[in-house]
Amino acid sequence: MKNRKDVVGCRLLVVAALIAALATSGCSSRQPKTDNRQRTQRVLRVCADPNNLPYSNEKQQGFENEIASLVARDLNARLAYTWWPQRRGFVRQTLRHGDCDVIMGIPSNFELALPTESYYRSSYVFVSRTDRRLGITSFDDPRLKKLRIGVQMIGNDHVNSPPAHALAKRGIIDNVAGYTVYGDYRSQEPGRDIVDAVAKGDVDIAVVWGPQAGYFARQQKVALDLVPVSPQIDLPFLPFVFDISMGVRRGDTALREQLDREIEKRHDDIERILDKYGVPRV
């Protein structure tokens, strides 16, 4: 199914590649250490995904990009990005490799990095069309046994997305449509397909992590309802609500303290940015 691109598609790809090459050739390199300006100006080195809106992309259009810019300005630092797809090995290949110093968003109890104070708390949400008036708030709603439900799945590694576990536990299986967490990386917005599916009516309802749901819901032509799921923690221990922090290398307490001060000082500005991107908070 992936090998049947037609001629037109292929030429488009060529054009797209040229544009992308032109557009990005001026961006910062992976090793800002070699930059002479470092001697005169501080550099805030951020590890980020180059194609993962609403969080970040290499055109710096994500809310994490905006918050990074804000912090860099305050620290009188130049912003330098190390781009790497945020997948398994992301922390190892970027932050721990020493190429960059901060990841703008990690779960606050994530052990592979040293977290700052959390700067927002969001939840997985039920996404449905407003005109359907479903009003579903809980995984225990009996209608979920019948409705077609979109859920993001993870391939293996002994884990799956929290809603996939919650639904399976309740025997809700045959009416579930699986989407990958990664999406199609060729797309400018790999994360939007599951929200699009709700708007188009491919599924009746989807369960999506808040920031992704909020951002892509705003871009639909039809109104979508976003409702935080309940329970917030499914037994025995399956949380749907996560605090999100910035993450620095373990041991880098100096940078953490600076970022903690920033998060406190810029609380209102950060809230404004999160609002702008439609990030639901709980």
């Binding site: 992936k2 090998n3 691109k5 001629v7 292929c10 060529v14 797209a16 040229l18 090459a21 557009a23 990005t24 050739s25 995904d49 180059p50 993962n52 290499e58 797809p85 945020q86 997948r87 398994r88 090995g89 190892r92 290949q93 721990r96 490799h97 779960p107 994530f110 052990e111 592979l112 799945m153 993870i154 391939g155 293996n156 590694d157 002994h158 884990v159 799956n160 997305s161 929290p162 996939a164 576990h165 639904l167 399976a168 536990k169 449509a177 699986g178 990958t180 990664y182 999406g183 199609d184 990386y185 060729r186 790999p190 994360g191 992590w209 992704q212 221990f237 399956l238 996560f242 999100i244």
Partner: protein, 624 residues
């Protein structure tokens, strides 16, 4: 992601050159779908390919050469050479070495054709040709794949490995981590064609070594953890054009299952089981990739290959047998049509990818010579199957197993132990074998002289207890906390000699680390393998006695080969360079305190960084 590709390249090239490179590479990809070369005039320079048809069936029988990683279509990895034997192997000395310039895991087999050795490195997958006619075997040329997508490194699950290249029709064929197959002129190193086979943007990478059968290059995908849909693709050796593609999940027509499909067991019979054995539509992200080995029987004209684990993780989400994952297909190479299928682990619970090697042998079973295939499987059993029908003739445990109690020979089904089924938030201890299995991809060898199969493998168990926070692509979640550790006895590795007829172990060598290298057996009654702390060993094929060993610079997870040099002398070669899934702790600089890193493997490998350091180096040995 193209933007990111271009950006990384921009460090090395001027903008104009870079844009042209992107264009050329993309057009090479286009060419396979749009044969109209006039559209892209620069393609002309790729068209100087030698195209004589090699008789691979004849060539694989020549013991002087080693043209494919498995040595031959039957995948015996047996060489008829006997200059080096049990009497003189103790005199083996290094003849020459070659640095690959890579610090990632070296899983490839070197191949030898026409007095030239070819090796392919981990990503960025450089192909080197070494001139065996010159003292010290200097490099004749190297071929560096262009326009590699660096995001492949983020996609690959288990280090950036490549398991080798293959020779046919005057060309060397190999796969790149970012989902392409390359054909390179074996003499000149010129690129003949490059085909985009899988889509890295959807998480499909390639790590396997291709196999060439009847002028078709057979290529399978990796990436089960991304929810990809597994498949095997056949490309034309001369043009790189797709001849057929067979999926391992979904409707029969996608799986090339038709009227000639006759599986042995009832549970594999029925229409569209690749759809019906899943919840609706889940087969679309159902895994079943093909990242291991393919064998071929020219007399039956059947190819054989295994399929990897089903996705998504969380077996509760995918009730059913999840066809056609964790099993194996027999197919016709010309059309790809399926002839039979057998499933090692229906509804896999443990990530037991069924992709290991399939050794084709003719063995006396109950007084009759049977055409069989022998398979040391991840779930801990050595299977002997009738390769004409797919019937299981025997399945005997070669490792410590708690997850199943055997294989029912009437139904062919594995008998799982319910208490060992992992589940979210549940504590499950002593899961043996764990995710990498009793034996992973590292291939065994069979000697027709001793009639023994030599199996390099692991002795590991795992616990799943509690949960830990994680995130991918901005999405937070909690996952199972998996920790692996040594199985009974405390040794993490084993090298076994196994009698496939009697179904029992003849001798066994305990190794401290999991044995992650392949092996080769020779007519000199010597078998070779390597250890993750860097010892390359020669063993007496009959007794299991250690005859010789040499400490290489880095841990060994490669595949040894043996061949005749232009001087008529027998040589043995191995790539050293630790890495892979168990060894990722060394090149990946994982934190030994973080036991759950590398999917829990680091817990079992915390002492490896003290035992070896990274760095790829080829070693070639000979008698003085």
């Amino acid at each position: 992601m193209l933007g990111a590709t271009a950006q990384v390249q921009s460090r090395k090239q001027s903008l104009g050159a870079q844009a042209i490179l992107v264009l050329i590479a993309l057009c090479a990809g286009c060419n396979q779908k749009t044969p109209d070369n006039k559209t892209f005039p620069f393609l002309q320079r790729y068209s100087s390919a030698p195209s004589e048809k090699t008789d691979l069936v004849k060539l694989e029988g020549e013991d002087g050469q080693w043209i494919m990683p498995a040595k031959n279509y039957a995948s015996t990895r047996f060489s008829g050479l006997n200059q080096i034997n049990t009497g003189n192997v103790k005199n083996l000395k290094v003849a020459w070495t070659f640095s690959t310039g890579s610090d990632r895991g070296e899983e490839a087999a070197p191949i030898v054709v026409n007095n030239t050795m070819y090796i392919v490195t981990p990503f960025p997958n450089t192909l080197y040709a070494l001139d065996l006619t010159q003292p010290g075997a200097p490099a004749k040329w190297s071929y560096k794949p262009k326009d590699l997508n660096p995001s492949a490194k983020g996609v690959a699950c288990c280090d950036w490995v490549n398991r080798g290249c293959v020779y046919a029709n005057g060309k060397i064929f190999f796969n790149t981590l970012d989902g392409k197959t390359a054909a390179v002129n074996a003499q000149t190193g010129d690129e003949v064609w490059v085909a985009q086979v899988t889509d890295i943007n959807r998480g499909e990478s390639i790590t396997m070594a291709p196999l060439v059968v009847k002028n078709k290059v057979l290529v399978g995908d990796s990436g089960g953890e991304f929810g990809v849909r597994g498949s095997l693709t056949a490309l034309d050796t001369e043009t790189g054009k797709q001849v057929w593609k067979a999926y391992n999940t979904g409707p029969d027509k996608d799986c090339l299952i038709g009227p000639n499909f006759h599986p042995f067991y009832d549970s594999d019979k029925g229409q569209d089981l690749g759809v019906k054995s899943w919840p609706p539509d889940l087969w679309k992200i159902g895994g079943g990739t093909v990242w291991g080995w393919i064998s071929y029987d020219p007399a039956l004209d059947l190819i054989y290959y295994g399929t990897a684990n089903p996705g998504p993780w969380n077996p509760e989400q995918r009730p059913g047998d999840n066809k056609w994952t964790c099993g194996m297909f027999a197919r016709k190479p010309d059309s790809g049509e399926a002839v039979w299928f057998y499933q090692w682990s229906p509804h896999d619970l443990y990530d037991h990818d069924g992709i290991n090697e399939l050794v084709l042998l003719d063995l006396p079973i109950n007084g009759q010579t049977r055409k069989v295939l022998v398979r040391p499987e991840r779930n801990g059993y050595v299977y002997v199957l009738d390769r004409t029908t797919g019937q299981v003739l025997s399945a005997n445990p070669f490792a410590f197993i708690t997850t199943s109690t055997g294989v029912d020979l009437k139904t062919g089904r594995l008998k799982p132990v319910q208490e060992k089924a992992p589940g979210f938030g549940r504590v499950t201890r002593m899961i043996c074998p764990p995710a990498p299995g009793a034996k992973d991809w590292e291939p065994s060898a069979y000697s027709p002289i001793t009639k023994l199969l030599y199996i390099p493998h692991a002795n590991l168990c795992e616990d799943e207890e509690g949960v830990q926070a994680n995130y991918i692509a901005g999405t937070p979640y909690v996952g199972a906390n998996v920790k692996m550790y040594a199985g009974p006895g405390g040794n993490r590795g084993v090298f076994d000699a196994w009698d496939p007829v009697a179904g029992k172990k003849i001798w066994s060598i305990k190794e401290n680390f999991p044995v992650w290298s392949g092996t080769v057996a020779t007519a000199g009654n010597v078998v070779f393998y390597g250890t993750m702390d860097g010892w390359f060993k020669a063993i007496d094929a009959r007794s299991g006695q250690l005859l010789w060993q040499f400490k290489c610079g880095s841990g060994i997870i490669g595949q040894p080969v043996t061949f005749l040099g232009p001087d008529g002398k027998q040589y043995v070669s191995i790539l050293s360079g630790v890495g892979g899934w168990p060894g990722a702790i060394v090149p990946g600089q994982l934190d030994p305190r973080d036991g759950t890193a590398a999917l829990g493997f680091v817990n079992a490998m915390g002492d490896l960084p003290k035992a070896t350091t990274k760095g790829g180096m080829l070693y070639t040995f000979a008698l003085p």
